[in-house]
């Protein structure tokens, strides 16, 4: 029936198909009601049998009945009463025991939900004002090795893009930043998106450090504590680093000077029309600010689990903001943003349905929106270069699908995923790769209405970390701590490595090396090669789930508590 209905969707005017569906439906209904009739009739017969049985028993009883001749039985009343008392006490003890069990082996889970805190948090958010705080007040409180490296820029081989002039007046909404959107070359020189340029997991910066030790400050350029929690990863444009944090007390976007670690500004995100008065319930491991920001050098864009999306200019002034509708997401929305030219792409797969949107970077208005026949996902979009055009590629349950950047039209899709899809897809070697735990790892050759799976595997599957492709190799990091390298074209496994911690942060490729940061804060650095060559395993000293960001000669890591800038000293 399902198949026929699906066919009917494709052929709505097929009368023969409609008749076939009706006939099949009638048959199914007849079968159902026939079954119901059988059950009812059987029950009735059973009842009649029971009545006859009862009558038969009574008849027999009456036929064989004889009043017994009374017999004198000596009863010890005292003994009987003692037994009764014991029996009553035993029943009482059983009830007591059950009550004890019910009293002390039941946990009150309602206590773990703090209503007052939740409401207080909401109240605070409601009264907060727009706030732009200039906090560039020097290096007070920083540790010696956190001093800004003023000569750093000179050694870099990429010039930072010019920044709009900062405006000090608080509370003012900025006008749309003037300037042209960056071209591909400019984007590849930055780390403006989750997993680097075009969200592909590959950074083109050189001279990335392979050794560091926060305990003694080795190669730690600076380290600064993070005021608010957030599982998003840092993004970089020029000499500015952006990240966000959120909790019941509010949502804040931070901008740091990436050379000094100085907080340049922070923007409290509030008063967005349509924003829910109360934050949606999210789990701790996702949080209210899991999606990574994106920047095009003109603006920085952020989205939160409330469905609030905002654009700020690089000085922290709001350009536009809107609420996309609170995403119905039981862990919390976590899909990161990616932009291309004037379009900001939002993957919005929720329990109420899936869709992908392109918003105008300048105004926030929806340019196009495409409904998707998918279940909820936590994955992020990437931009794949298929042929001579970029395609927006998304992974969800059950589709891995590509969309036209201009129209939002689905270009191709492959039904191959299942479960709660978290990892973003990867692009490389002419193939799209997607994987999810309890599903499979697939390599898809894209093609309009002709996409096909080239190979698949189910040996090592990631839960959160996205795959990455470089130099014909595909790398996978699993949540149980296995790193695996495959031949991207054939699916042949080249090597695997068991790490102490699992991977939530996505592995990145930079400077010819694979940087895979596990949840314990250990960076596993391998040569990008068919042979397994471990270069180093420096430790951060704190747990982390954020994907590192790269800049020339530097790596930026968001730990659980601190933000680190690591570079060769």
């Amino acid at each position: 029936m399902t198949t026929l209905l699906e066919r009917l969707e494709e052929e709505p005017n097929n009368d023969a198909l409609k008749t076939e569906i009706r006939n099949l439906d009638l048959l199914a209904r007849k079968a159902f009601f026939n079954n119901q009739w059988q059950i009812n009739t059987g029950a009735l017969l059973l009842l009649i049998s029971a009545i006859i049985f009862g009558i038969a028993l009574n008849v027999r009883q009456k036929l064989v009945f004889q009043i017994e001749i009374p017999q004198v039985i000596e009863k010890n009343d005292f003994h009987l009463r003692s037994l009764v008392q014991r029996g009553i006490l035993i029943v009482g003890a059983i009830v007591l025991f059950l009550a004890l069990g019910a009293s002390f082996y039941t946990k009150d889970y309602l206590q773990s939900f703090n209503i007052a805190e939740s409401q207080a948090g909401l109240a605070e958010v409601a009264v907060e004002q727009i706030e732009i705080v200039e906090v560039n007040t020097g290096t007070e409180g920083m540790r010696p090795f956190e001093q800004p490296a003023v000569t750093e820029l000179a050694s870099e081989d990429i010039e930072p893009s010019p920044l709009p002039e900062m405006v000090d007046e608080a509370g003012q909404v900025a006008v749309r930043p003037e300037g042209t959107f960056p071209d591909l070359e400019s984007i590849l020189k930055q780390h403006g998106t989750f997993r680097g340029p075009l969200a592909r997991g590959v950074s083109f910066h050189k001279n990335i450090p392979v050794v560091w030790k926060p305990a003694d400050g080795t190669n730690i350029i600076w380290k600064t504590p993070l005021p608010k929690n957030g599982n998003n990863s840092p993004v970089i444009w020029g000499d500015r680093l952006f990240l966000a944090g959120a909790d019941g007390g509010g949502k804040i976007i931070y901008c740091y000077n990436r050379h000094s670690g100085t907080l340049l500004w922070q923007k409290v995100v509030n008063n967005i029309p349509g924003s829910p008065a109360q934050s949606p319930k999210v789990t701790d491991d996702t949080g209210l600010s899991a999606p990574t920001l994106t920047t095009d050098g003109l603006s920085v864009y952020a989205i939160f689990a409330t469905g609030d999306i905002i654009s700020l200019d690089l000085s922290g002034k709001e350009v536009w903001s809107r609420n996309l509708g609170v995403p119905d997401n039981h862990y919390g929305h976590s899909s990161s943003l990616v932009s291309w030219k004037e379009k900001l792409f939002v993957q919005y797969d929720t329990n109420l349905g899936g869709k992908v949107m392109a918003l105008d970077c300048r105004t926030g208005q929806t340019i196009w929106e495409t409904e998707r026949e998918v279940k909820i996902s936590w994955s992020s979009p990437i931009l794949a270069s298929v042929g001579d055009k970029l395609q927006l590629v998304l992974a969800s349950d059950p589709l891995v699908a590509a969309y036209d950047l201009d129209s939002g039209k689905e270009l191709w899709s492959v039904d191959c995923m299942m479960g709660e899809v978290g990892p973003a897809p990867a692009w490389g070697s002419g193939l799209v790769f997607a994987a999810n735990e309890y599903a499979k790892l697939v390599a898809i050759r894209p093609g309009t209405n002709a996409a096909a799976i080239v190979w698949e595997s189910n040996e090592y599957l990631p839960e959160v970390a996205s795959p990455v492709v470089a130099d014909g190799l595909l790398f996978i990091g699993t949540s149980y701590g296995v790193l695996a390298a495959y031949d991207a074209q054939s699916g042949e496994k080249h090597w695997e490595h068991e790490c102490s911690g699992g991977f939530y942060a996505s592995p990145m490729v930079a400077d010819g090396k694979l940087y895979a940061l596990d949840m314990e804060g250990v960076m596993h650095i391998f040569k990008v090669d068919k042979e397994k060559t471990l270069i180093g395993e420096p430790e951060l000293g704190e747990e982390t789930v954020a994907t590192p960001a790269f800049a020339p000669g530097k790596i930026y890591i968001r730990g659980e508590k601190n933000l680190y800038c690591i570079g060769n000293e």
Partner: protein, 431 residues
């Protein structure tokens, strides 16, 4: 002998006709909304719960109850006829059981009354209130004749009593505590709007409606099979309404007597009661007071406050466990501990909540309030059970004198079986 058989066959056939007529009569029940008229010949399935009735039909149910009770009283006190009581109970089974599909019944009405007392927004109907009160009032005058002839649950068990065994007194008394526990839980759950336990776990209503789940069929059949040998197990060891009838019946102005005149102490009735409620005459030996009995009486009397206190304490402590049965509390805890269920489209409760527009704090706040109500209710329930336990114990060291065989006024169902055993007044037929 052939005459007896013929008469029994006739009665058997009558039962079948009665049941089937009652069964078919449900189709005449009033429809609140007219059913759509399908041209395809589609026949609407029978609903799984009794359909609402017109008010006059509800009142007619009350009238039927009164008539049944009046008939039963007449058969017990005037005609002293076990057979008459039996056939009234067969009618009650057909009418209140199969025709009315077990609803409304005084046993379940306990919950409606509790809910109306503790939830002001719930208005109890006059019919339900009448079904709750009338049997209790009648029992104040005539004993538990409702159990004898008007209760469909009792009737279905009574008809299948085959070869009842005599249970040891300690088993009878100990299991007799369970109805108090069941009553307390039923009242607590109804008063907090949690559930109607008695109806949900009624082992026989599924037979009446022909819609029992497999487990309830197993439970119902088990009760009936056990009932072949341990007469009316549900009535004796579970029925919560029986607790109330037990209390009122103790004060009944008139009560069934085994003998219509002076007891001749023939002992023929001694084992006639399948429910073990006939109490023997006391002897000087059995009412002998000992120092041990006095000591026990004092001990139990002193224990009562302790039992009540302990019961109240443990009852209060177990409120978290018990309140978990409330759908709101269960849903709140489910969403707190397993937030991923929001993604489960098959979880109707969760999806309904999500679609309702209510927020999680609102749900949790409601759940906390319900849990608070449970704390008070559970403490009272615990204290009540402690009190019952104490009185059960004290009752075992209090002696009363009795000169003849007589039924226990609290526990006797007034079924009239024992009357058939008594030869007094039947002398001409004994020859």
């Amino acid at each position: 002998m052939s005459t007896i058989k013929n008469r029994l066959n006739l009665w058997g056939n009558l039962i079948l006709v009665l049941c089937l007529t009652a069964w078919n009569a449900t189709s005449f029940a009033q429809q609140r909304f007219p059913k759509p008229d399908f041209e395809s010949g589609y026949v609407q399935p029978h609903p799984t719960t009794p359909e609402p009735r017109a008010l006059w039909l509800e009142y007619s149910d009350v009238l039927v109850l009164i008539i049944v009770l009046a008939l039963a009283a007449w058969f017990v006190f005037k005609r002293r006829s076990r057979r008459g009581i039996l056939w009234v109970s067969v009618f009650a089974l057909a009418y209140f059981g199969f025709y009315r599909e077990g609803c409304i019944c005084p046993i379940g009405s306990v919950q409606n009354v509790a809910l109306s007392l503790f939830q002001p927004e719930y208005v109890i109907s006059l019919t339900v209130l009448a079904f709750f009160i009338i049997p209790l009032i009648v029992s104040l005058f005539f004993g538990r004749i409702f159990c004898a002839a008007a209760c469909p649950l009792g009737a279905v068990q009574d008809l299948l009593v085959y070869n009842p065994i005599t249970l040891a007194p300690w088993v009878n008394k100990s299991l007799g505590l369970i109805p108090y526990l069941y009553l307390g839980l039923a009242v607590l759950f109804a008063a907090t709007g949690t559930d109607f336990l008695i109806c949900r776990y009624d082992p026989f209503v599924g037979f009446f409606r022909m819609d029992a789940s497999f487990l309830m069929i197993v439970l119902g059949v088990s009760f009936l099979l056990i009932g072949l040998f341990i007469a009316r197990p549900y009535c004796r060891f579970l029925c919560p309404y029986g607790v109330l009838l037990n209390w009122t019946s103790r004060f009944s102005k008139w009560h069934l007597t085994i003998t219509p005149a002076e007891c001749i102490d023939c002992k023929l009735c001694e084992n006639s009661c399948p429910f073990d409620v006939i109490e023997q005459p006391t002897t000087s030996q059995s009412i002998r007071k000992t120092k041990a009995d006095t000591r026990r009486f004092v001990t139990y009397a002193l224990m009562i406050p302790l039992l009540v206190g302990t019961g109240a304490y443990l009852g209060g402590k177990s409120h978290v466990f018990m309140s978990g049965a409330h759908p709101d509390v269960e849903l709140a805890e489910l969403l707190i501990t397993q937030p991923e269920v929001e993604n489960d489209p098959d979880n109707i409760d969760v999806q309904t909540f999500l679609a309702s527009g209510k927020t999680m704090p609102e749900l949790v706040e409601a759940a906390v309030n319900i849990r608070r109500e449970f704390y008070t209710g559970s403490a009272i329930l615990g204290g009540f059970l402690g009190l019952v336990l104490g009185f059960f114990l004290i009752n075992q060291v209090i002696f009363s004198t009795r000169e003849i065989y007589e039924p226990n006024k609290g526990n006797c169902f007034s079924c009239g079986r024992c009357m058939d055993y008594c030869p007094v007044g039947k002398e001409p037929f004994l020859t």
